[in-house]
Assembly symmetry: C2
Homo-oligomer: 215 residues x 2
């Protein structure tokens, strides 16, 4: 893995990885309690719809894992605490009847970043649910079509009603307005060759190191 | 202005600028007719809401202009034609009671890109309205606060019901889910110092070269 400093593009602040613990199952997550910094190794499932002009559309179920580095919270109490995140590794796989197997990883040259904070409208409430957002640079490998697709505008993943960190079990959405262009690694500077048109996901719980299949 | 090749980040394809005409007022725009490539010099107004934690929120009316380079359409007929766009220059100014004067320009190191195409669900219809989207890297200069703010995730500007190109007069939205982080040029790698929480805009008509105030 490249370090953040080697990355060409960062969508937000880097989380310092030195000395922070790598957290595998089992873990106890306390509600309304900002946890110390760490790297969460979590399951994830996602249902993504791809449109390839001239080929067609398909909706694909993915399963895999993410590794999310979390910063030291900006406050010890839940209220007011902000946490910055980096998605440092991701692996998901799914199978499309139309496109064949699809493997999703992070773009090595992009730092995918996010944050967890209380929505501004709720910031006077105590124990308000927080909102989580992450801007992701992903790569979609489609061996059957001999293609690797990637996004240039980040895929914006959002999770609402965050009552514990990490928000294990929460559903989330990719904030896609109509379409998000995907480009081909073979011709990265030409027009998009495919589009993501919908993305819904759900965070899983902590995994053991052995469960990080495909790493 | 840097050329696209000098830019560190491109959110989409570059539009070739060599030899394409610079279009000022007056121009005749034909509905449902993909126009030849050109650079549109258009008015724009925008109403943006900024939240600066610890300082407060304000909604600011901006007025100014954009210069949008359009590619050769991918088809001569309206149906099926796609057009790629680069926002090559922007200038807007507004005044906030709280934050003082705000001047908006493009980030020189980012290629702000977009496209106009028929939404997939309407692609079998004739003379279907198209949708326009653009991913923008902007800079907000706040002289009173001595700050220059910029976004790292693109500001996603969308226009629906596009029946002519350019979509002069159409309203549009910034697709912001809760908040879009803004960073300070003085400390670009630290946490965001402000947020855009809402953005609504309206495209104006062609301007004369003299109307490009602040250029």
């Amino acid at each position: 893995m490249l370090t953040a400093n080697d990355k060409k593009i960062a969508f937000g602040p880097e989380v310092e990885l030195d000395g922070i613990p790598n957290l595998f199952a089992p873990q106890t997550v306390k509600p309304f309690t900002p946890p110390p910094s760490g790297i969460d190794n979590l399951g994830i499932v996602s249902t993504d719809t791809f449109m390839v002009p001239g080929v067609g559309e398909d909706t694909v179920d993915f399963k895999g894992w993410v590794r999310v580095a979390r910063s030291k919270p900006t406050a010890e109490a839940w209220d007011g605490a902000e946490v910055y995140t980096n998605l440092i590794e991701m692996y998901m796989h799914g199978t499309s009847a139309r496109f064949g197997e699809i493997i999703v990883r992070l773009q090595p040259e992009v730092l995918s970043t996010g944050m967890i904070r209380t929505p501004f409208g709720d910031s006077d409430r105590t124990q308000a649910a927080k909102a989580c957002r992450m801007a992701v640079g992903a790569e979609f490998e489609l061996p059957k079509l001999g293609m690797v697709l990637f996004n240039k505008e980040p895929i914006e993943l959002t999770i609402d009603n965050v009552r514990s960190i990490p928000p294990a079990g929460n559903p989330g959405n990719g904030q896609i307005y109509n379409l998000l262009p995907l480009f081909s690694r073979d011709a990265p500077n030409t027009a998009p060759v495919a589009y993501l048109t919908s993305l819904k996901f759900q965070m899983g719980t902590y995994l053991t190191e052995d469960q990080l299949e495909g790493r």
